[in-house]
């Protein structure tokens, strides 16, 4: 793999590399710090791919706390971004999981959100605009730095989850929120009761920002001033670290077991072999040799691989859109 990346004029160079790949009919694999899964350096036909690494294209471009917007280069590590925001008492509302030096670009590419998902929203909700290089090496910009913007199709939100297969995202503007002061409570109970309870509680005025079930305990997190919780039977305050245990979730598995991420309706009853329930009940982690029978299941060790469960109509749209952004199929499909 030939690595080509320097911080200066980096975007120009990225664009050049993509243009050259068009001439050479060469497939490109966009990478960051490869924290999530190792990517194979060959395409589906077994031909070698060229790496385009963005990890050196890093840093905050513009940050105005009063505007609640930060503009950042795609290779910026999450830790660096989060530290800069924390300094001004702000944070990323979608609490991205850090797999170890994960970049914001990689997080965007996979569309990963943390425990506050049903409460504050998902990653794409906080994307305001992106700059990118398409498959022809053209530099494009969509959206902007405005919280509200409906001029043109919402390309910058659409490409969340595109896994580097349609365009190279170089910069993005994200909406940030004030740093939340949060407390976690827990109570021991069976899983099905916990699922019911977390749904009931999410429908009350309690300012919840997390709801999970792990190792026999129902955990919930509350932000800001709220009514006393520990006067209820069995409820006690516990450590906020549970949310880091679940985000990213990296359990020890028995031999032969696989980790499955199952996305369901929050009220879905307990699923067999579940080892953790997160995101207010909408996320279930299942450890099992076999694929759970649900429509939205991801085998976590190959989380980049598509689920291949699109209807023909949707499949056709996705293939068509790929041609729009990358007509010569330069970017590697996973």
């Amino acid at each position: 793999m030939a690595t080509l990346s320097t911080p200066n004029h980096a975007v120009e160079q990225f664009a050049e590399q993509v243009k050259q790949a068009n001439l050479d009919k060469q497939t490109i694999q966009i990478t960051g710090n490869q924290s999530k899964v190792p990517l194979r350096n060959e395409d589906l036909n077994g031909d070698p791919v060229q790496e385009l690494n963005i990890s050196n294209y890093s840093g905050i471009i513009e940050y105005e706390p009063a505007e609640l917007v930060v503009t950042v280069k795609a290779g910026t590590p999450l830790t660096e971004l989060q530290a800069a925001l924390a300094e001004r008492n702000q944070m990323l509302a979608f609490e991205p999981p850090d797999y170890g030096n994960s970049t914001i670009g990689g997080t965007y590419a996979v569309g990963l959100t943390g425990p506050s998902k049903p409460f504050r929203g998902i990653l794409r909700d906080f994307v305001l605009g992106t700059k990118m290089i398409d498959g022809q090496g053209r530099q494009l910009g969509f959206g902007g730095k405005m919280i509200k913007n409906v001029a043109g199709y919402d390309v910058s939100r659409m490409l969340v989850g595109s896994k580097g297969s349609m365009a190279l995202i170089t910069e993005m503007s994200l909406k940030v929120i004030p740093l939340a002061i949060e407390v976690t409570y827990c109570i021991e109970m069976p899983e099905n009761e916990a699922i019911l309870l977390m749904n009931k509680m999410a429908g009350t005025a309690l300012p919840m920002t997390g709801g999970a079930y792990y190792q026999g305990r129902f955990y919930y997190r509350v932000a800001g001033e709220h009514s006393l919780q520990t006067n209820q039977v069995g409820v006690r305050e516990c450590d906020n670290s549970i949310w880091l245990t679940l985000n990213p979730f990296r359990p020890e598995l028995e031999a032969g077991e696989k980790l499955w991420r199952v996305d369901v309706e929050s009220t879905n009853p307990a699923i067999e072999n579940t080892i953790a329930v997160g995101m207010g009940g909408t996320r279930r982690w299942v450890a099992s040799p076999h694929k759970p029978n649900h429509p939205y299941v991801t085998l976590w060790q190959t989380r980049f691989a598509p689920r291949h469960n699109d209807t023909p109509c949707v499949q056709k749209i996705k293939l068509g859109l790929r041609d729009v952004f990358d007509p010569n199929h330069i970017f590697k499909q996973l």
């Binding site: 398409d134 001029a151 939100r157 729009v324």
Partner: protein, 478 residues
């Protein structure tokens, strides 16, 4: 057989309007300055009939303009003279409410406020609340990605929709869900202005009503003090549920309609709502009031009851049409700007207002930087509409030049096509046209809206660089 006959056969005579007399009231939406009589209006009763209409229109190569309640302010549902208006107002059933899961599944013709009313008994509500929420439809909200006064904290339509069912010109149904793998087609559909498909079912996220809410109303002697105060509130880490600003003219108009006691002597009025737990609201309301008075508010009123809070909002929510009391016509702009450019942009608008000789009333979603200047004009006066449009375009270009956008929540429609050329370059526009073609290779879904042709932009471009002079040359370009 012609298309009207085919439609009549498929969805019955009573659901097809084709006489000139009956089609005329459909010739415009909330932007009545643009009018065109459609060939026919189809008002299907159910989804099967919608599919039939689409298939027939495809067969006869007739454009389809999907319409909800027709409250849009950008001409997004302006008919074509050879096109069929597909009105979805009869698809107004709330299919399912699940209070435990906090979702509602609705048909596109359901009115925005009807959702909140239907789930009120569970202590829930649907958050996006455009000013036209009593009349506008959820389908239209998704098509335009509508906002409202509570966007800053609770998001736009795109943040509150969990899945949708969409039809293409063949009447084939696709489901786009938040849980889908890969690229986010659900997000793409929000704000696509009826160009990519016909939305026939929507699953909405419902939120629990906050325990308490309080409105702080602050009057200022100067617009720029008011603008600065907004920035301070956000800097202090408070995200108000709503943060709205009105200038003297619009607050007077609103007071005339609502009679809620707005201080009509003020130059600018700020409405700041905080919500959450009782304790949080008390703390925040006090902090907001302190910040605002430090920043020069000469009069501060804090709502003492739910009744008072709602009454104080009434004026703001009706501010646009209320301006209709002072002028036969108004033209509502929707530019969005960085908040710290607000004072500058308002001054520029004031200057341009003098040059064009047209009055402007300003209503501002201050929290999210969304500016709504209303240009007052008289359509019965020869040439005044054209002058107004020119003025409007200048305002939008100004918004782009300070780093903002031409439309925050109303959509491009037909009205802002030229301004799109100012905001986007050729490659981005090519991508937009490419996306459209993937979803609708016939080009029959709401053609001519939202995305300008490259040809049009070439012409607009020639106009813009007239004499090699860009407007506002002193501004840094973004």
């Amino acid at each position: 057989m012609d298309v009207i006959q085919a439609l009549t056969d498929a969805i019955t005579t009573k659901n097809v309007l084709s006489s000139v007399e009956s089609c005329r009231p459909y010739e415009c939406d909330g932007l009545s300055a643009y009018r065109e009589k459609p060939l026919a209006v189809a008002l299907p009763d159910n989804v099967e009939q919608v599919k039939a209409v689409l298939r027939i229109c495809k067969q006869y190569k007739v454009p389809v303009i999907t319409r909800g309640s027709g409250t849009g302010l950008a001409g997004g549902t302006l008919p074509l003279k050879d096109g069929v208006v597909l009105g979805l107002s009869k698809l107004s059933e709330i299919i399912k409410i699940d209070p435990l899961q906090r979702i509602a599944v609705v048909q596109p013709g359901v009115r925005n406020i009807a959702v909140s009313q239907a789930v009120e008994k569970y202590g829930l509500y649907y958050a996006p609340d455009p000013s036209s929420q009593i009349a506008c439809s959820i389908g239209g909200n998704v098509a335009e990605n509508s906002g409202g006064v509570h966007c800053l904290k609770y998001g736009l339509t795109v943040h509150n929709v969990l899945s949708i069912k969409v039809l293409n010109m063949d009447g084939e149904e696709s489901n786009f869900d938040e849980k889908d793998d890969g690229i986010d087609l659900l997000a793409l559909m929000n704000g696509s202005e009826g160009l990519l498909g016909v939305i026939v079912e929507i699953k909405l996220k419902l939120l629990p009503k906050p325990e308490a809410a309080q409105l702080v109303m602050a009057a200022f002697h100067s617009v720029s003090d008011c603008a600065d105060a907004v920035t301070s509130v956000l800097e202090q880490g408070i995200i108000p549920a709503g943060l709205e600003m009105m200038d003297k003219f619009s607050l007077m108009a609103a007071e005339e309609f609502a009679k809620v006691g707005y201080p009509t002597e003020a130059e600018a009025l700020l409405l700041c709502e905080v919500d959450g737990s009782h304790a949080q609201v008390q703390t925040d309301a006090k902090r907001v009031a302190d910040i605002l008075s430090q920043k020069g508010a000469y009069k501060i009123t804090v709502s003492q009851s739910e009744k008072e809070r709602i009454a104080l909002w009434q004026g703001r929510k009706n501010a646009f049409p209320a301006v209709g009391r002072f002028s036969p016509d108004y033209y509502c702009m929707d530019g969005t700007i960085p908040r710290n450019k607000l004072a500058f942009v308002l001054e520029e608008i004031d200057r341009l207002s003098g040059i064009y000789g047209l009055k402007v009333a300003n209503v501002f979603h201050a929290g999210d930087g969304n500016l709504h200047p209303l240009i007052l004009y008289d359509a019965n006066k020869e040439g005044e509409l054209q002058l107004t449009e020119k003025f409007g375009t200048e305002i939008l270009n100004l918004c782009v030049d300070v780093g903002g956008t031409i439309t925050g929540e109303h959509g491009v429609g037909v009205e802002k096509l030229n301004s799109m050329c100012h905001q986007y370059n050729t490659p981005e526009l090519e991508i937009f046209h490419g996306i459209k073609a993937v979803f609708d290779d016939t080009g029959l879904l709401n053609p001519g809206k939202a995305v300008p042709t490259l040809h049009r932009c070439a012409e607009v471009g020639q106009m813009h660089v007239h004499n090699n002079q860009l407007p506002h040359p002193h501004l840094e370009r973004f």
